[in-house]
Symmetry: C3
Subunit: 188 residues, 3 copies
């Protein structure tokens, strides 16, 4: 074994005891109710979805669209403002706060990822960082937004791309990792 | 705020009233039956899947394979020709016509995407365009074919790629956006 | 039609009769039990998941984590060593052996793909090749490991990437196809 490589991952030492996302009973209840009413293909009325999410602590604006089969980790870490769309099969993996601004569109299959691991630590330390999607942002189908990313006003992330850094306002990004392609200009 | 950026997305103005994909009752019935018999891991016999899809208006050839957990938006916008394979977890998001030719293979997790939005309009106008996959095309696992794309005869799209433009006949493509890699040559 | 293109895919000639992954009854039973206890969002205790997988022939070490909604093709082709993590929505599509070493982490949505097709044969011949993930490897969220790939000790594959070739020990890879980015160095 080479000298530089004498340390190794040991997941038996993994310690995320500092991470306290909420009481066990609350999480268990959400796990059950979320699966039944939100992460489902049953045609649950939006009014019921919104009420349930608010009951579990989500801060939701008016006129929100939530399509079928949406997977939300912890609603009490979720803010969604007016007119935002959450598409089919979207996965909001919010170990910490995710803020979705007014008129944001998350297309089908989007993954918002707040968790990471420190791969330079043998204990594979958990890292959690919030995500902020400002007003008018569009995250394309099957795209992924990583931990700590802020997508500024009206940024666009193209289909199947990965945002690992902040996206500038009115910027259109694509690829893995996502790179700036051009500016979003409104014509009408 | 810069002058060019004085317009903003307003999803409360979103108007897709021109888009009429079929009667409410038909869509509701399909939503229920599709979930029970097609978008499921239950081992439903292919004969039943085919009959149900035809009942809802799909045009299906002979000897078609439909694996478990296939998500089809509207079967009445779907044509599948002889011997085609539709893999596990394939998502046919056909807001308009999708045509799948003879001997086409859609590998597991493929997404066919007919819908888009005009991000230069404040109303985020809906755009729908058909997809044509000609004879012998192979779409690799977890790849995405975008609106308006025609994949010509025997084109191949590699795993996890995104086709945003037409694919030439017998061309092999990869990446996001997919680019030509080499020509498909049959040896036997 | 050009001369070089006079051969075409004919899936009616597809012949995978040489591929014998186990008796029909065993596969059917696994299909049912796997869906109920493993490929589910129900909070099934890990002890039950492990026992069931072992009953179906998986070789599992100690202290393994299996998150909800894991899709395993055939447990009798699966080896998982101590402390390994299998994340939510991971898809282990093991038509043949997959070996997951000690302290390996498969993040959410990973796809391990052992099957391929010979696109140069008109019969679209099935190709299956094993996957080996050595000790300490981390496969990032929604990434894909292809047939025949060995990820050597402590290699890292970044989010949404595709490994089509072997990954060197302690190498960090990203993209589609995944390319070497830098070396993984442990600091603590």
């Amino acid at each position: 074994m080479e000298k530089t490589f004498d340390r190794r991952t040991d997941l038996s030492k993994y310690d995320n005891s500092w991470y306290q996302p909420g009481s066990r009973s609350k999480r268990f209840l959400w796990f059950i109710f979320g699966r039944i009413f939100i992460n489902t293909y049953l045609p649950v009325p939006i009014r019921i979805k919104v009420s349930l999410l608010k009951l579990f602590g989500a801060r939701l604006g008016k006129n929100i669209t939530i399509k079928p089969k949406v997977n939300i980790k912890y609603p009490w870490f979720l803010t969604v403002e007016d007119n935002a769309w959450i598409g089919e099969n979207v996965w909001i993996d919010n170990l910490t706060n995710i803020s979705i601004g007014k008129n944001v569109c998350l297309s089908q299959g989007v993954l918002l990822l707040t968790g990471n691991h420190d791969y330079s630590s043998t204990g594979f330390d958990l890292i959690v960082k919030p995500i902020v999607l400002e007003e008018g942002v569009w995250i394309g189908a099957k795209s992924i937004v990583g931990p700590g990313v802020t997508a500024h006003s009206h940024a666009v992330l193209a289909v199947n791309s990965v945002a690992t850094k902040n996206l500038d306002a009115f910027g259109i990004y694509r690829g893995n990792p996502a790179e700036f392609v051009k500016t979003r200009v409104f014509k009408k």
